[in-house]
């Protein structure tokens, strides 16, 4: 009895030790980026970021000051906002409308169309790049922010509709019929009943979608030009001279990850749910 308790106690401290090591392992790369982003190019050339831990005089916000003074960087940051916010709103709005219609409204071919939408879940973004680029070229959307947004919205929709239809379908039939009997038209029912009831799903979807687009590089790499490119593409273009550009890349990367990480900590539960649901993609 005493022996097994002792063994359990020992086992538990071993588990704690293992998890502490794993936790540190996970924190180190991020700490490396943060510390690197606060060091000058000269210090970076001289030694690793960990030397700053013993001589904290190396640390300063100079890199960030010059980053914020860099017109290309600040524009790229705003482009990221201008791409990800409208995309998120559009995906949620369009998918909520369609999701409600697929769940509760009658129209010919409804089930077949919904099956098609679900089938589109498999389509990888890659397959759309070339044809849509040609199409956008003809429409004058290539290299513009609306072009990037439209592409993201389209490829975000199948999952979004799938998620919301399934969520809305759970709304009790009596609730909707009572609203219809009270003389509510479909638009009223949608805005007054369906959207409020669906809030948890809408929030998870919005967070997932925002994250996805904020972090995207591939789509913007093709569809954005130098005036509409987001932070990821702007930073990517400087990767070639990686060694000599750390004083720009490290703070830039930190700037680009601080927004989603803040969203993560602010909305932990919705965030985890959104990512979990979104991983079907």
């Amino acid at each position: 009895m005493n022996l097994s308790a002792l063994r359990r106690g020992l086992g538990n401290s071993l588990v704690q030790a293992v998890l502490v090591v794993v936790g540190l392992l996970w924190l180190t790369p991020l700490a490396g980026l943060l510390v690197s982003s606060l060091r000058s190019a000269q210090d970076t050339a001289k030694g690793g970021w960990w030397t700053a831990l013993t001589s904290p005089r190396q640390l300063s916000f100079d890199n960030y000051t010059s980053l914020l003074g860099n017109a290309g960087m600040t524009r790229a940051f705003w482009n990221t906002v201008l791409i990800s916010v409208p995309t998120t709103i559009l995906v949620v709005a369009i998918a909520a409308l369609a999701g409600y219609a697929f769940a509760w409204l009658e129209f010919p071919g409804r089930d077949a169309l919904f099956l098609l939408v679900v089938a589109l879940l498999v389509v990888p973004v890659q397959i759309g790049l070339l044809p849509v680029a040609k199409l956008f070229g003809q429409l004058g959307l290539f290299g513009t922010i609306p072009g990037v947004v439209l592409f993201h919205v389209s490829y975000g929709l199948p999952f979004a509709i799938f998620l919301l239809r399934n969520y809305f379908a759970e709304i009790p039939r009596e609730m909707l019929e009572a609203a219809r009997m009270d003389g509510g038209n479909e638009w009223r029912i949608f805005t007054r009943l369906v959207l409020p009831v669906g809030r948890p799903a809408l929030a998870s979807l919005a967070i997932f979608q925002f994250l996805w687009v904020w972090n995207d590089m591939l789509v913007a790499l093709l569809f954005a030009d130098s005036s509409s490119q987001p932070l990821t593409v702007e930073l990517q273009s400087q990767i070639r001279q990686f060694g000599s550009n750390i004083d720009v890349l490290a703070p830039g990367a930190f700037l680009s990850l601080i927004v989603p990480v803040a969203v993560f900590f602010a909305f932990q539960r919705h965030f985890v749910q959104g990512v979990m649901a979104g991983s079907v993609k």
Binding site: L97, V117, Q126, I127, L129, P158, L218, S279, V280
Partner: protein, 452 residues
Amino acid sequence: MTVTLTRTTAPPAAEAVARKRRARRRGRTVALLFVLPALLLLGALVVYPVLFSVGRSFFDASGTRFVGGDNYTEMFRDPATLKAVRNTAVWVVVAPTLLTGLGLILAVLVEKVRWATAFKLLLFMPMAVSFLAAGIIFRLAYDEDPDKGVLNAAAVGVHDAFRDTAGYPTARARDGAGLTRGADGSYRTGTTVSPGDTVTLGLVGVAPKDLPAGAEPASAAAARPAGPDELRGVVYLDFTPGGGGKQGAVDRQESGLPKVRVEAVRDGKTVASTTTAADGSFRFPGLETGSYSVALPGSNFSQPYDGISWLGPALVTPAIIGAYLWIWTGFAMVLIGAGLSTLPRDSLEAARMDGANEWQVFRRITVPLLAPVLTVVFVTLVINVMKVFDLVYIIAPGPVQEDATVLATQMWLVSFGGGNDQGLGSALGVLLLLLVIPAMVFNVRRFRGSQR
């Protein structure tokens, strides 16, 4: 219920039917308006492109000549795309397996500590970080220069901890300074020495900036007399910064060379060995009388160990998979942890009561019960791994890009990154689509099942 009853009794039957039909038609119009924006976008930007790409994949690079399945056979003939297919296969097998295993272990372990939530949050956080930022983070960590990359700094640190000599790869002796060079790169005194002697071994070819920190001037030690049964000496840098020193003599400003391995050799056999102190001094106490020579073995002059070439052609894919683990382990752990919390506590407790140890409980009960969840995690990861693009594109340095290439990056390179073969590029896109379909069908089935 009462509302329905009063309604049906009010209007005459014929009028009611007509009104119902009208209402239905209006309902249809409204429904179509609700789905129209989605259908328009999906039709124009998803359905049409898929059809276009499938068609385009049967045409040549310029899109003018129908080539049938040539692009698809080319995919497995062209060394670059074949490499991409192979690497993707490695990714699909290795990454989901490691992630599921790691996630399972951590999910089980984290249940046992009180700060489980904090740990889960920490490990899940990289999911919020873009592949680009993660790529920069790991490009930094994997840097080959041990003075930049934390992983190589650790590797070199561990390696050097098992080796007490400092390397002086550029050091050499001046000709005629009393040291002769052996075939293995070692140096040995030309004349023999006996206990009671003090020898000075001057080397050149070490730049002052390459001297180890903490090296001290050697002149004091060089002047110290040796006892009757000991052999003393210094290994020093026979070079005075700023000039003015005398060759072959230990001048006042000249530095000792610390951590040089020194051997006392008698009749061709090493009888004693030591390493030099900060001022380059060494001593061999307790020697028998006789004639010796002093040798500096070749290991002093070998190239220093400079770590592992993480981003070289051989290790680049495992290295990028490592970065991928950093991002996704939290996901696997949280999903498996959710499954773990639904396991029947009673059967676990019962097994423990029957005297099963933790490992047996894990092997015989936890894992089999978790099998469905583990499958879901695995399949989900397969889908995501198949499409991996940014990480490879960012972490693999330019020249190694072709060793690290996967389907998604290859598709990009072939179509837009200079390859300019949109026929082959489309075929690669279609292949990606075909590969994702089975996993996706599985996942959608599961998702719908869980919704019911």
